[in-house]
Symmetry: none
Subunit: 401 residues, 2 copies
Amino acid sequence: MDSLGLMKNLSQVSPGKILLMVLDGLGGLPHPETGKTELETARTPNLDGLAAKGVSGLAEVVSPGITPGSGAGHLALFGYDPLRFTIGRGALEAVGIDFDLRPGDVAARGNFATADRSGLISDRRAGRISNEKCAELCRLLDGMAIDKVKILVRPVREHRFIAVFRGGGLGDGVTDSDPQQIGVAPKEVTALRPEAEGLAGVANEFIARVRKALAEQHPANAVLLRGFAQRPELPHMGELCKLKPAAIAVYPMYRGLARLVGMEILETGSTLEDEFSTLKQNYDGYDFFFLHVKWSDSAGEDGDFERKVRVIEEFDSALPGVIELEPEVMVVTGDHSTPAVFKAHSWHPVPVLVSSRWCRPDAVRQFSESACLGGGLGHFPATRILPLAMAHALKLTKFGA
Amino acid sequence: MDSLGLMKNLSQVSPGKILLMVLDGLGGLPHPETGKTELETARTPNLDGLAAKGVSGLAEVVSPGITPGSGAGHLALFGYDPLRFTIGRGALEAVGIDFDLRPGDVAARGNFATADRSGLISDRRAGRISNEKCAELCRLLDGMAIDKVKILVRPVREHRFIAVFRGGGLGDGVTDSDPQQIGVAPKEVTALRPEAEGLAGVANEFIARVRKALAEQHPANAVLLRGFAQRPELPHMGELCKLKPAAIAVYPMYRGLARLVGMEILETGSTLEDEFSTLKQNYDGYDFFFLHVKWSDSAGEDGDFERKVRVIEEFDSALPGVIELEPEVMVVTGDHSTPAVFKAHSWHPVPVLVSSRWCRPDAVRQFSESACLGGGLGHFPATRILPLAMAHALKLTKFGA
C-alpha cells in the first residue's frame, strides 16, 4: 500500500495543525572556496533550534539520481508518488499560470508562429511577440466552440499560450501539431488511441479556424500546439487525510499544484512577509498549511550562491513569528536541490526537519545537508514526509489490530 | 521480490540456530527530565556487549509514520510484509485467545447483549457479565451445526466471545450484525461479494437460533457479531525458510501469531525465567526460536517509565544463560515502540541488534535508539530482519549465479 492508501485507511481528525514549509530548491552543493553548502553557510539559529529539538533526515524526492521537476517534487511532498501520478506538459503549463484546470479538461501548450504563403512554418516563435500582443491575440481566439467543446485560450509569456479544450468528454493521447523545425507545414494532430479521436478532430478544426482568424496578424499568423494533456486525476488530499488544507504561495505554478490536490488557495502578497502574515490571518481556519518560498530556487538557478544564502537567512529570521503560533508539527524541506554551483535542479536528496513534541530526538544540532545525513529520519522517500507529519500530529490510527 | 520470495528461493539447511528475542514495545522516547529513553536509561551490560560485537540498526516496522498493531508488528519480524498480509479483526481476536484457527475458518468477534421485548438492543454489553457467565453461555452455544458449517463459540472476557464458522467452504466479506448503538435492532448480516452469500446466510441463521437458545438468559439474551474474517493465508515459515521454528510466549496473542506462520508452540510458564528455561529444555529440537517478552509493552502502555526500564534490565540480567547456549545468531528487537511518555504504540522505528560471528562490526557500543541510528544495519524495513538472521546463520545461498 502506498502512502496515500495508508492515509486513506488510517487518518483521523485531531486538533493539531501541520505546517509544511517548502524552500524551493533548498538542497545545495559546497562552495568551492569554503566547502560549505548554501544551507551550511547561512546563519540559521531558528532552524538549528528546531532541528535540535526535532528530528531530521534526507529525502529522495523521486529516486536516487533522478532530478525532479517542480510538479514531481511537490507531488512527492504532498504524499503522491511522482512516478505514479504524472502531470502532462500541457496540464503543467496551465497549472503554471494558475489556470483553474477542471476534471476532463485537456490542455495544450501553444506557440504563436509565422507561416509563409504556402503554409510552411518560417518562425516557430513569431519573432517572440510581446506579452501584450500575446494577450491581445489570446482574447481574439478565446471562447471558440467546436461541437460540444469550448476552447479557452490564455497567454503565458511572449509567443507562448495555452489552449484548454473543455467539455464533450474528450480523452487525451494525441500527437503534437508542432513540427519542432522550420520549413515544413504544421503536423496534423492524430489520435494515439481510439478514445482520443474526438480530441484530434477538434484540435485540427481549431488550428484551421485559428489560421483564418489570424490571417491578418503576420508574423503571428499560425499556432503550433504540443503536449496535449488531461488534468491528472489526483485524489483530494483533504478527503484522504481528513484535513482542511490551505496553500500559501506567491508564484502561480505552486498555487496550481496545490489546487490539483484539492488545497484551498489563500490570497497573499508578493513577499515572504506577506506569506507569513497570510498564514497568521488564516491560522484558525485550516489544519494543514503548505507555505512555498520560491526565491531560494531562483537564486540557485541564477548561480547566485550568496543570494541563496540570504534567502535562507531571511526565512530563518522570520521563523519566530511562525513558531509562536505553536503548530503541533512543523516540517521544513525543499522540493528538490538547486545548488548554486550547478545552476539547475539536481538529483541530490533534500534536507528535512520535523519539529513536534513527539519527535524522537537525534544528534542533529544544525539544519544542514551534512547534519541531516546522520539524522533520526535517515535517508527516506519524500512521499513519507506527509505520513510522518500526520503521525506526529496524532492524525493516524494504528495499522492492524 | 519480497523477503519471503527470497527466502523460498535461497534458503538452505545449516546447523546454526537462530534466536529472535522480541521485547514487545521496546522502542521509546526520552524521559523529559533525563533526555534518555527507557533503553538508554536501563543498565544493560549484556545487551551492550552483544551490540559491541554485533551489528545494529533501526527498523521501520510498517513504514515511516505508521504505528503498527501487534499482529502487523510480529508479521514483519517473521518476514511477512504487513501491508500485504493483513489479519482481520475476528481472526486476530481468535488468535488472541490461542484458538487454533484453521485454513478456511471464519472468525467473528461477539458481544453478549441485551434485547428488549421488541428485539431492540438496550445494552450492547449485557451489563458486562462475568467471565464465568460468559464461559457458561459459550458452552451452551458451542457446537451448533448449520448446513455443513459447525460453529465454535469460545469466551474471551466479560461479555466478549468469538464465534468461529468452520467447514462448508465459506468465503468471507460480510457486514457486521452489531449496530454499534442502542435502541435499534441488530443488523442483518449481508454479503459484500457473491462468495460470501453462504457465510451471510449461516451467520443470520446462527444469530436467530442463538436468540431462542438465550431467551431465558436476560440480560445476556442476544449476540452481536462483527469483524468476520478468515484465517489469513500465510505461507509456512518452516517450509519457506527450511527451518524448524518454535515459539515461546507467555501471552496467547503471540503464540497465536506464531501459530499462524506455522511455528510450533512450546509450553511455558508465566515468567521470563520460565521462558528461558523452556528455551534451554527445547534447545536441541529446533533451529529457530521466537521468544516473546510482553512486559516491556505493558509498562509502556501504562506510562510506567521506571517499570519498563526494570523489565529491560531483568531481561539483560538473564541474558548470560542464553548466550552460553551459543546460538549462531541472536537478534534482539521490538515489534514496535511503546514509549512510556506516549502510553501507547507509536510509529518510531525500533532498535535492532544482530549478534553472530559473521557480523561486520560497527561503532555501536551500547544497545539504544540513539546508538542504533549510526549502526551498521542502517535504517531498514523490519521484514529484512529475518533474511539478515538467516544470512548470518549461513542459511541462505547466493542469489543468481
